[in-house]
Symmetry: D2
């Protein structure tokens, strides 16, 4: 299992450094927010087109690659301490979204599901 | 491959709704920031102890589970459009961190690697 | 007016560098997310007590001071391009919250207003 | 003083509800991250042009106005507990940026100051 292997690798890394005591869920959420902020920093001034081409510029590509790895690392450590099965949680969420965003209502629209429903009931 | 399967599931979900055109890397980073914000919102007033017990309260547990799924969904879609192999990127990052945070310097300390190095050189 | 003076200072700074073209509302929100991420990074591993004492440690204090200034700078530039009167918007929000969080229901509790109301109606 | 007046208003609001005990710097930073996430959520799928026109759509305008007020509220409460003079901190930061981003180097470019300097020294 890929996710479990990665979590195991992160768990050992933290245990060797005696870092688990910093890893409360609250602290890990905050660390995740910090890393997503670094990712936002890389994209903030880019046009949509520049953002789509970011991986063709080696220096930017390397930083983006590092930041998504950092985000993933904290997400995996967070679900590890929370004992959440991340793949299962995502699979359930997709199924919930299949119900919330039926193709007939959501096609081509970026609106939230409650707005889609409200408009559908008005019609 | 678990990550590929989840990405395929998300890709089909977006394609059926004609949502790929919203999914520039920039927009996906911003969506990721939005979801991490929702996760922060769930933990912001909790003590460290309350945060460690969050999954024992069913209503909170359900919301946390949904939010980590949302974060993961946008992260997977982001690396999909960027064509980054997330597991490989994380594995490389852990190896980089093995060098940056040697156990002898980092044990029990939450300092950044540049600070650890600077202090080590001073010593 | 203090806020206007600060906004004027930021406006001139950006105009001299021909940076206004980067300052779409979307980009400024993303820059704000980036700076709040840096602030989160400074606090992520601190205990509640350490966070309360952060300004007594000169190096940390300086970084916190810089980051809150960055957050404020992007917030002021954002409301400038959106033509929102920030002081008025905040004053209205406080008045709305006076209604949403009556002292009798909200005292000592960190719950959202919809939860407070639901419980009050159940009682 | 406008900022002081707003802080006083927020201080009274919190004191009446016995909420100051939730307001450690760490918690307020996390609350700030949560509100910036909600702001990101409002802008994530907008094109640059749509983001520039967001205040012409009354329902979106109202939500943006509320979210910037929330961000400002937590920022003011954060600097209040940290005893940072926000206007002074911003003014100093602008002066620092005047030195870091000289017009001759920074004009029309969104690069970080260390990159500007490195290129200037190479030239």
């Amino acid at each position: 299992m890929v996710l479990n292997d990665l979590q195991q690798e992160l768990r050992e890394f933290a245990a060797q450094r005696d870092w688990q005591r910093f890893h409360t869920p609250k602290n890990l959420v905050m660390a995740l927010a910090g890393e997503v902020g670094e990712l936002a920093d890389l994209f903030q001034w880019l046009t949509p087109e520049e953002s789509a081409a970011v991986m063709t510029r080696p220096e930017q590509a390397e930083r983006v690659r590092e930041e998504v790895a950092d985000v993933f690392a904290y997400l995996l450590q967070l679900v590890d301490v929370l004992e959440i099965d991340l793949a299962a949680a995502l699979h359930e969420k997709v199924q919930q979204n299949e119900r919330r965003y039926p193709v007939s209502l959501a096609k081509g629209r970026a609106d939230k599901y409650d707005l889609l429903r409200a408009e559908d009931e008005d019609a």
